[in-house]
């Protein structure tokens, strides 16, 4: 599979001179499977430019896998051009709530007064899949598991050709606490990330910022390093960058993370717009 980052900012789109290197668009990652299917992880503002690119050779079916429905993971959906092409089928996978279906929840955004076009007026055929669990799309086996954030949220584990990509963009695995002494089976998201070749993971806060954000649903560097090491991931890509963090500040966080990764800090990187990650039998290659 080949993943490309179209947005890795958290919470709010943040264009500007201070965010040029890592990008200001919110969460969206395209995954091309070996079998030809296209997955889109989250529908943040990065989805707008992905949609423009996809129009060059529009697939008949697109699978959008939503982790949750906070606006920074949903706002790009209304600007995703393939949705406005009759004849295209867009599968929307994502968590329902205990009282509302996925379609009902998404319609809260895709309807006036928040958006001019109603979900029911979209030309493409939209198929909703509530509460994904274990699913197969093309050559990929995909697992969605609930993770600790704010409200119903899942992380995705995508396995294909002996390689595993894990995506947990919003996650607070141990609110207010540490992971060191927690048994693995009691750590939120461990089953998604365990043994993954590449993990995209929430790294919103520096450790000094976390105490005033406990319970907001995001990780600090201490959390993400502890989580990734316990899960024995191959490469960790810090994701969901705080909208207040400049490029320079992100690089300081990266340096901190690399110091903490025992002995092999090169296995930690910062996700950036345009980054590609190829995973196949030949190994893992990251570029961009």
């Amino acid at each position: 599979m080949r993943a490309q980052v179209w947005g890795c900012r958290g919470s709010l789109a943040t264009p500007g001179a201070d965010t040029v290197r890592y990008g200001g668009n919110t969460s969206c990652v395209e995954v091309q499977l070996e079998s030809g299917e296209t997955l889109v992880l989250d529908a943040g503002t990065g989805m707008r430019s992905l949609g423009v690119e996809m129009m060059r050779d529009l697939p008949a079916e697109i699978h959008v896998l939503l982790t949750h429905l906070h606006l920074d993971h949903l706002q790009g959906l209304g600007f995703f051009r393939p949705l406005f092409q009759a004849g295209t089928t867009v599968h929307l996978w994502g968590p329902a709530s205990p009282v509302q279906s996925l379609a009902e929840r998404i319609a809260l955004y895709l309807s006036p007064p928040l958006f001019p076009v109603r979900l029911t007026d979209i030309p493409a055929r939209v198929v909703f899949h509530d509460e994904p669990d274990d699913l197969t799309i093309g050559s990929a086996s995909i697992r969605a598991s609930k993770v600790a954030h704010q409200g119903p949220t899942v992380g995705y584990r995508i396995e294909e050709a002996g390689r595993t990509l894990a995506y947990i963009p919003d996650h607070e695995p141990s609110p207010g606490g540490r992971l060191d002494d927690q048994p693995a089976e009691w750590i939120s998201g461990h089953d998604v990330a365990h043994g993954a070749d590449v993990l995209f993971h929430d790294a919103q806060y520096g450790d000094d910022e976390y105490p005033t954000h406990v319970g907001w649903g995001h990780s600090c560097i201490d959390h993400v390093i502890g989580f990734a090491q316990k899960a024995d991931v191959g490469t960790l890509l810090l994701f969901h960058h705080d909208p207040y963090h400049t490029d320079e500040e992100l690089e300081l966080l990266l340096a901190d993370a690399r110091r903490r990764w025992n002995g092999d800090g090169d296995r930690v990187g910062l996700a950036r717009e345009g980054m590609t990650v190829e995973l196949d039998r030949g190994g893992v290659r990251i570029s961009g």
């Binding site: 205990p98 600790a148 606490g177 009691w186 939120s188």
Partner: protein, 139 residues
């Protein structure tokens, strides 16, 4: 109440993980049963009343746990596991509340008030049971 064990290393469901996180941060004694009715955690505050840390306990079900504590009512009549608050929450899928007398591992008999409720992620998907208890004489 049988099936999974507290030594089971399968990933726990998120509602159970969050309940354990809550319990670990409370000074109110609390214990958790999983969806198979197994005792999977109690917090330090509970350990003080039970007389033994959770980590020193063998794998056991909620019913077995109640048996070890020799639960009875204030008149001294034994209370069956399924008639305890956690048993009511697990077997009848509804909240339960009772005053019970429990004998801790330290041999001390304590009168406690106990309240339990089932953890449902959806209307019919039981993830476990949360039980809080506290000394009956406490305000």
């Amino acid at each position: 109440m049988s099936g999974a064990t507290s030594g089971d290393t399968a990933a726990k469901s998120l509602p159970l993980i969050l309940a354990r996180e809550l319990a670990a941060n409370l000074a109110t004694p609390m214990f958790l049963l999983d969806s198979a009715g197994m005792l999977v955690f109690y917090n330090d505050a509970a350990a003080l009343l039970i007389g033994k840390p959770f980590g020193e306990l063998d794998t056991l079900s909620g019913v077995e746990f109640g048996g070890l504590l020799q639960l009875c009512d204030p008149d001294g009549e034994p209370v069956r596991g399924r008639d305890t608050p956690s048993g009511i929450a697990y077997f009848e899928r509804r909240p339960g509340h009772k005053t019970l007398v429990a004998t801790g591992f330290d041999g001390v008999r304590r009168t406690v008030n106990a309240t339990a409720y089932p953890l449902f992620a959806t209307a019919d998907e039981l993830h476990g049971v949360v039980t809080v208890f506290w000394p009956a004489e406490a305000p």
